[in-house]
């Protein structure tokens, strides 16, 4: 059974870009990462979510070979990061925590430095990337004169220089202003959509992940809690709708059986677009005064707190 499913995945067009198989990291007696297993499908922006200290950065460091696994295996495009490091990491571009560059070199010299480490990256590609991240005006200045936002751009530039299939970003929005965050978000979605780059991005900023990602994995205390897709097509499905009314009890009677729960000042039902209108009509016809109708979608934040059980730091 196991083998079959592996073969199937390799045979299909959608082989996962990253596969973590029973990844465990122990430091001394402490288990930092506990048996983590999940796949990252290609062409998605994949969020990696967890409270501080949950093991996000450790996992990312193992993915790019900066840390060793105690046991388990990580494959990048089918290559083991442990035994085929060079072939595996060739597919990866990354910023691990802050994009620290050589401050005494110019931005351009920094890029030349990284370009030299991979064959086939010429001056043209460097110029192209510089243009892409919008650093053309300042690229020949020393990095020590750069603002944090500019360093972040340079960080992205070095990460995409060799056209990686997988872009790994650890807390990329740290220290960016709202405009910078928005720009980065748009850019990552562009990479995933138009260049087919798989983006693996970690954060503890839930709202950010919600806007950026197609799918999120949630970890807590080194364990995988859940992997779930983020719904973008909210209009098509049934949602929980709150009707603000003057007499919730009467409203429940009127809508016999439909009501999910009664709250102070209102009732909650599960309904699609048309049903919402119907319910409203029935309530009004029955003389119930309706003050407001709104959806009570659970934000990722609520889901996150629900599954991680609050903000315990592991």
């Amino acid at each position: 059974m196991e083998e079959d499913s592996v073969l199937e995945r390799h045979g299909g067009g959608a082989e996962p870009v990253v596969r973590l198989v029973n990844v465990t990291k122990r430091i001394g007696k402490r288990t930092i990462i506990d048996n983590l297993t999940f796949d990252v499908p290609p062409g998605e922006v994949f969020g990696f979510l967890g409270p501080n200290g949950s093991g996000k950065t450790t996992t990312i460091r193992m993915m790019v070979g900066l840390m060793r696994m105690t046991s388990g295996e990580i494959y990048i495009k089918g290559r083991s990061i442990r035994t085929e490091f060079e072939a595996a990491v060739r597919q990866v571009g990354a910023i691990v925590e802050n994009p620290e560059m050589y401050k005494f070199l110019t931005g351009y010299q920094n890029l030349v430095h990284y370009a030299r480490m991979i064959p086939g990256i010429g001056k043209r590609r460097i110029d192209e990337v510089v243009e892409l991240v919008g650093l053309s005006d300042r690229i020949h200045d020393k990095v020590k004169t750069y603002s944090l936002g500019m360093r972040q751009r340079l960080g992205v530039a070095q990460a995409i220089l060799h056209r990686p299939s997988l872009l790994v970003l650890d807390e990329p929005t740290n220290g960016l202003d709202p405009a910078g965050i928005r720009e980065l978000r748009d850019y990552l979605r562009h990479l995933a959509k138009h260049e087919g780059t798989t983006v693996f991005v970690s954060s503890h900023l839930l709202s950010e992940m919600e806007l950026m990602c197609d799918r999120v994995a949630i970890i807590q205390q080194g364990r995988l809690v859940d992997v779930r897709p983020i719904r973008r097509d909210a209009g098509a499905e049934k949602l929980e709708i709150l009707f603000e009314v003057d007499r919730p009890d009467t409203a429940s009677e009127v809508l016999d059986g439909v009501v999910l729960r009664t709250e102070s000042g209102g009732i909650v039902v599960t309904a699609g677009r048309e049903e919402t209108a119907d319910i409203n009509a029935r309530l009004v016809a029955a003389g119930v005064r309706v003050y407001g109708i709104r959806t009570v979608t659970k934000s990722l934040e609520d889901q996150f707190l629900e599954v991680t059980g609050g903000g315990r730091i592991g």
Binding site: G65, L66, F85, E86, V96, M117
Partner: protein
């Protein structure tokens, strides 16, 4: 192979695009120039070779210190600046990345020593002319032969000390510790070796500090504790290999968590 040279070029870039590298080299250039020119006007009976030896003694000491600074920064600097993370996620094994750093360091030492060797000979020849070596060169040596041998032995010592700094830098990721310990070994070896000499046990013959100051062996008949040059070189080679092995072992296994 050409690819690997790119790594060395990168390391060279990180050495030679820094102001401090050129400040150090400027010091190595200006000091002997000043010493010789002042000597030219003050010294009653100037002698080319005595100036060559005087300046060489001082400058190799300085260059050793600069080499230790470079070696200490080579690995520890990448860790303290966080740049090590971006360096190690390239399709190169850690072995090769460390090797490129080490080769760039050795190149820096050899280049500086060679330039200085040529400079001091040329400078003092121009200022003082060839002439008799007087008492500055031990009898039995041609002046040029002696100076060349002297530089050769100093190069070996410098390589050992710089490798020690490189090892500490790699093992402890602390540039300060690497600089401190290595300069202590460099400057304190004389005191330590004379202290150790008081202990009359055979193991002290294998202590690193007993074997610095190799140029002693060039003065014929002055055998140190009955050792030969070959024995001292052998002990230094042993430490050298040990330092390299430790550097590579730790660098390869290290979890980059900073």
């Amino acid at each position: 192979m050409a690819d690997f040279l790119n790594l060395v070029r990168n390391e060279n870039m990180k050495i030679y695009y820094r102001v401090r590298t050129w400040v150090m080299s400027a010091i190595l250039l200006v000091l002997p120039l000043a010493m010789s020119i002042i000597g030219r006007f003050v010294d009653d009976s100037p002698n080319m070779w005595s100036y060559v030896m005087l300046e060489s003694g001082l400058m190799t000491m300085l260059l050793s210190i600069f080499a230790v600074v470079m070696a200490a920064d080579s690995v520890a600097g990448e860790f303290s600046n966080g740049t090590i993370k971006l360096l190690l996620i390239r399709p190169w094994s850690r072995n090769k990345i460390l090797l490129s750093k080490y080769l760039a360091l050795l190149c820096y030492i050899v280049l500086n020593l060679a330039v200085f060797f040529a400079l001091t000979l040329l400078l003092n020849f121009v200022l003082f002319g060839g002439g008799d070596s007087g008492s500055s060169i031990p009898s039995g040596w041609s002046p040029f032969g002696y100076v060349t041998a002297w530089y050769g032995l100093n190069l070996i010592e410098m390589a050992v000390v710089a490798t020690m700094a490189f090892m500490i830098s790699s093992v402890f990721r602390s540039g300060g510790l690497a600089i401190g310990l290595s300069i202590f070994a460099l400057l304190g070896s004389g005191i330590i070796s004379s202290l150790l000499s008081l202990i009359d046990k055979p193991w002290i013959d294998y202590v690193l500090f007993m074997h610095f100051g190799l140029e002693r062996y060039l003065n014929a008949g002055e055998l140190f504790r009955g050792h030969s040059l070959g024995f001292s070189l052998g002990v230094l080679a042993g430490y050298y290999v040990l330092f390299l092995a430790l550097s590579w072992y730790v660098f390869n296994r290290r979890d980059v968590a900073s």
